[in-house]
C-alpha cells in the first residue's frame, strides 16, 4: 500500500535542503508547500536534491522557481538527465545552478 514518494525539508545554517523522491507532482508539492514557504524565509540558498526523481510536473517546477522569485540562490542536485531536460525546457538552465554542473 505504501510506496508514495517521501519528501523532506532540512535546514543547515542559511541553506535549506529539499529532498524529493519518485514522481514529483501536484500531490507531493501541495503537501510540502506550506512548510517550504515558511522555511524559505530563513534561507539564502535552497538545494533541491532530486536524486531518484523519475518525473516532475509543472507544480514541481513551480516549487523550484519559488525561491528564485524572492532572490534566493537555487542549486539542483543530481537530477537524472531527463529531469534536467524538463527543468531546462522551462528556461531554468540559466537561472539555477546544477550540481554536478555537467549532465552525467
Amino acid at each position: 500500500v505504501s510506496g508514495e514518494p517521501t519528501s523532506e525539508l532540512s535546514a543547515d545554517g542559511d541553506t535549506l535542503t529539499v529532498t524529493l523522491r519518485g514522481e514529483v507532482d501536484l500531490l507531493v508539492v501541495s503537501r510540502l508547500r506550506d512548510a517550504f514557504e515558511s522555511a524559505l524565509a530563513g534561507a539564502r540558498t535552497v538545494v533541491f536534491d532530486l536524486t531518484g526523481v523519475s518525473f516532475i510536473d509543472s507544480s514541481g517546477l513551480g516549487l523550484i522557481a519559488t525561491p528564485l522569485s524572492v532572490d534566493r540562490e537555487v542549486i539542483v542536485r543530481n537530477p537524472a538527465p531527463r529531469i534536467r531536460m524538463i527543468i531546462a525546457s522551462v528556461g531554468f538552465a540559466e537561472v539555477v545552478e546544477f550540481d554536478p554542473a555537467e549532465a552525467p
Binding site: 505504501s2 517546477l61 528564485l68
Partner: protein, 562 residues
Amino acid sequence: MTLTGLGLLRDLLKAMPQGASLAEVLRTVTDTVVVHLDTEGAGIWVRHEGGDLELVALTGTAFPRDPGVVSGVVHDRRPSTAEDSVVVHPLMVGDRILGAMGLWRSAPWTAEERALVEAVADAVAAAADRRQAEEQTALVLSTLNEIGRTLVAELNLERVVQIVTDAATRLTGAAFGAFFYNVVNERGEALMLYTLSGAPRSAFEDFGLPRNTAVFGPTFAGEGTVRHYDVTAAAHYGQNPPHRGMPEGHLPVRSYLAVPVIARSHEVLGGLFFGHPEPGQFTATDEDLVEGIAGYAAVGIENARQFREEQHIALTLQRALLPRLADGYDRADIAVRYLPSVEHAEVGGDWYDVATLGDGRLAVTVGDVEGHSVEAAARMGTVRHALSVLTRREESTPAAALWELDRHLTQIDLRALVTAVHAVFDPSTGSLQVARAGHLPPVLLDPDGTAELLDEGMAPALGLRLVRRPPPLVHRTLAPGSAVVFYTDGLVERPDRPLDEGLELLRSALAHRTFASAEEVCDHVIDELLGPRGSRDDVALLVLRTVGAGHALAAGEPRRRP
C-alpha cells in the same frame, strides 16, 4: 501456596512487560517455570483458528511424549492424568481453549505441585488472551491507519473502491470480496457498480446485481453489519424467488460478512460483502476491521466525488475562458484543440488564443499556467486577457509582449509559473515572428516536407521575476502551405520517455507529409502523439496554416465553423 509458588507467580507477572510480543511472553514463562519448578523441560502450545497446535515456547529438553497427548488435552479440555512425570494442562479463558502448557521431568508431581501448575496455566491463559487481543487491536489499528492514509490521498473513485475491496478481502481471509457502490453518471442517472477481489468478474456477471433480498437488503438499507457463521443455515436464507438461495453457478458461500458503507450525510454509498466456502471463518475482529475500512471508504468516496465535481467546474470554467475562434481568417487557416487529461485529473491552466491585429496581422498564443483546477483556470483567464491586451499595442512584437506580460504578472503577484509561446504572422508578407518564455518550441512544417523545431532560444518562464530581458525573437518567412504547430507539454511529455524523444516524435510525425487543412494537422498530431490512451496532463494545441494569395483556393479554403 508455597514460597516457590508465590515467587513463580511474581516472576511471571514481571515477565509480561508492555510491548513484548505474545511469543516473547510465553518463552519467558517456560524459562521461569523450568527454573522454579526444577523441571527438565516446559512447553506452551497455541491453538490456531483452524484447530492446529503450534509449539510457540520451549525451554529445556524436547517434549518426551507423543504430540497426540497435547491434542488430547486440548480436545478434552482436561489436564493429563495418566502420566506421573509429564503434566499437560489446558490453557482456558472461560470456556474458550487457547492451547496447552506442558512440564516434564523424571520425578513424579505432588498434588500440591499439580495445583501450582493449574494456577500458572490459568495465569498464562489470561495473560495470553489479553496479549492476543492487544496484538489483534494493534494490527487492526496499524492496518486501518495505512489504508486510511492511502485512501485519503486517492482521488480516483475506481481506485478507491478497488483498494478498499482488496484490503478488506485480504485482511478478513475471505475467499472473495465485493464492493457494490452507487454512482450518478454524467446524465444524472443512478447506477450501481461493483468491484471484486479474489474472484474474476466472470464469476458474477451472470447474476446481475444483488437485489433487495432478505440477505442483502439490510446492508443496502444501512441497517448495520451482518455476519453469518453459515449463511445457508440462516433463518431467512432461501426465502426469495426466483433463486431461493444462491443462484446456480454462484461461488460457494457459507461464511458471510456484509458491512454497509455510509456517508457522513447518512447516505448509504454501497456495501462490502465477503464470502468463504467454509462456515465460521469470520470473527468479531474481522467485523471491526471491515467496519473501520468502510469508514475510510466512505471518506475516500466522498473525496473522490468532490474532486470530480470540482474538476467538472474547472473544465466548464476553462472552456468558458478559452476564446471562440472567428469564422475564418484572412489568408490563414487556424485550428485549435483543448484536451483535458484522461481522468480529468489535470484541468485548468492550458490555453490558446488568436487575435487579429489592426493592420491585418494575426497574433497566436499557446500557454500554460501552473496550478490546479478552478484556481488554475481563473489564473489562465487573467493571463490570457493581459497578453491579449499587450499584444494589441502598436509597435508591439511578440518578445515585447511577453516581456511586459512578465512585469504585469509580477505586479499583480500572480506567483505561478506561466509558460507561453507567442507569435505574430503577417499574411501579406508571410513573415512569422515567434517568442518563447519557458515554453516548448513550435514545429514549422515547410511545404517541401521539412519539419523544424523553432528552438533558437527563449526567456525563462513568466510570473516569477525571472525574466531579465525580452526573449529572443525568431524570424521565418513562411511559404504558402506551411503549417506551424504550437502546443503545451502534455502533448509530448510522458513519464516513461525523455522529453527530447517526445519532441522528435512530434517533429517526425509532421515531416514529409502534406495536409489539406489545419484541422487535419491537429487530428494527425493527436493521433500520432497521444493515440487512444490520451494524456496524463491536459493539452492545448493550435495549428496555423498559411494560405498564400495565389494559393488560397488550391491549398484549401479556411474552414468555416458551424
